[in-house]
Amino acid sequence: MAEGGAAGPAAAVIIRSEYEHKSLGKAGTGEVQRRLSWFERLSNIDSVRKYTVLVGVLVIWELYTIVADVPPLMFSSFSDTAAALVNALVNEGLLQNIWNSISTLFKGYVIGIGIAVVLVTLGVTTRFGTDLLTTLTAMLNPLPAIALLPMAMIWFGLGEAAIIFTLLHSIIWPVALNMHTGFLGVSETQRMVGRNYGLKNIRYIVKILMPAAFPSILTGLRIGWAYAWRTLIAAELVFGGQVMDTSGQMGAKGSNAGGLGWIIFQNQMDLRIPYVFAGLLSVILVGVLIENLIFRTIEERTVRKWGMQKA
């Protein structure tokens, strides 16, 4: 290093002689800026592209059924499905069936969340509660709720009570598990703030733990909803099978009892395939609505607004 420093001044420094560039004509780079074409500008809009894809899928669906000449008993075309959906909505009271499903789901969901909150409250306040909660969730979370349906039908008979019991099972464990994990992850600083204010038990949970763990609580609620929705449809399908050999009151023919799962099952039994597709479409619509209207709104008003989660 020292040697280099000493050699520095001695080394000859080459300075290039200055010169002027006489002729700098226009460079042949072509257009520097250009407006995007109509097509490009349109296709840069996200929603335009997505709706085009959606329309494309529907057109392909319709064309496929026409060109390949699929028997309507196997696969109904989009136009038949849409007509069936409108007819079912207007003449056959499909809305009532949708409402039956949603109201059952809602009852189960509310009760399930209540039980989960009680369990988690116990789990947070006492060590015994924690142990009980972790043992129960570890054991029962891997058990698909629908597997309990046969027992539920024996205990509660064919009807709403059996379905709600099964729904409860599908909601309680994921919600409790996520809530508890979220509570465990709350930072010590926030806990100390709570203790500093002298908050205890319920007030400590509501004011400190819940807001701090809200992202995982929301995840739990979402998973719970997804499991519950799947369980409900499956349970209604199983009941559909039961109606064949017992005279249960679920979805007796001609009445509007029974939910969407039952409608799908019944129409498939009667080989009214467009109506099966219409039932599936309404299942999708209800799912999209709940996901996008309810959960998205909750997310935007809470975790996004509080800056806990990015878009």
């Binding site: 592209r49 997505k50 085009t52 894809v53 959606l54 899928v57 008993l73 196997m74 696969f75 060590r127 142990d131 009980l132 972790t134 043992t135 570890a138 054991m139 029962l140 979370n141 891997p142 058990l143 698909p144 709720a145 629908i146 597997a147 309990l148 349906l149 046969p150 027992m151 039908m153 024996i154 205990w155 998973i223 499991y227 929705w229 799947r230 369980t231 449809i233 499956a234 399908l237 199983v238 559909g240 099978g241 039961q242 064949m244 969407l260 799962g261 799908i264 099952f265 498939q268 395939i273 099966v276 039932g279 599936l280 299942v283 999708i284 209800v286 799912g287 999209v288 709940i290 996901e291």
Partner: protein, 299 residues
Amino acid sequence: MGHAKGMSEIQFGVHVRPEFVAEVLTVPDNVNIERRLSRFERISNINAVRKLTILLGLIVSWEAYTQIANVEVLLFPSFSISIQALWETMLTGEIFEKIWASLSILVVGYVAGLLLSAVLLIVAVTSRIGGDILSTLTAMFQPLPAISLLPLAMLWFGLGAPSLIFVTIHSVLWAVTLSTLTGFMAVSETLRMVGRNYDLRGIFYILKILVPAAFSSILTGLKIGWAFAWRTLIGAELVFGALSGKGGLGWMIYENGDNLDTEYVFAALFTVILVGLLVENVIFRNIEMKTVNKWGMQH
């Protein structure tokens, strides 16, 4: 600053306590500064002991409830009877056949679902139109419970394994794709630039950059996919049970429930729980430890 502080001290008056020297500082008597925990406390501080005790307590109260309340076996079998039934089916090998019947369909459906998902994702990552198609399809099919496709699947593929595989694929495909796609989108620009710098393209870019960087969301997707598939399969076997056919654990639950052999229903439920625990705690936990935990992406 110092001046102002001096002023306020004079204004408000500072009380200074007189100094004093503590003459005798002795350890007070009758105080246990350190004490060994009692045996009970020491044992109850071991996590596993507490949890096993709770498990035992639950089993004992179940057994005691059925004995004391004299519940009909048809309605609610006691723990011992259920375990006996489980043991019986293990001796005859029936339960292993059922587990195999369920798991073989599940594995075929799961792997096929993953392959399809991989193909869709490759198309989606490499072109914009692919991305749009995939996100539209996922948004449409993700909220549709796979089980509701079962009636149609039975129409298309008949009563049998192909229908079950079809609904299993449907339940895996969208959950895994959605989670992976979300993971890919969140890969940091720095990592992407590293990949571009190495001139990685197409499949190499996905395998070397996107997949490792998004592995924790891929793993989440795999777990959710497994949970959905397991639930769908058991549900599908129950529906099949209602129609005809034979098969795995779901069918065993349905058949025995229908015949009011409730102790066998409970034996099947135990098995379903055990298989679930095994897959979650052995397979997924291992993958997690060997990848995201080892790489320090998740604690």
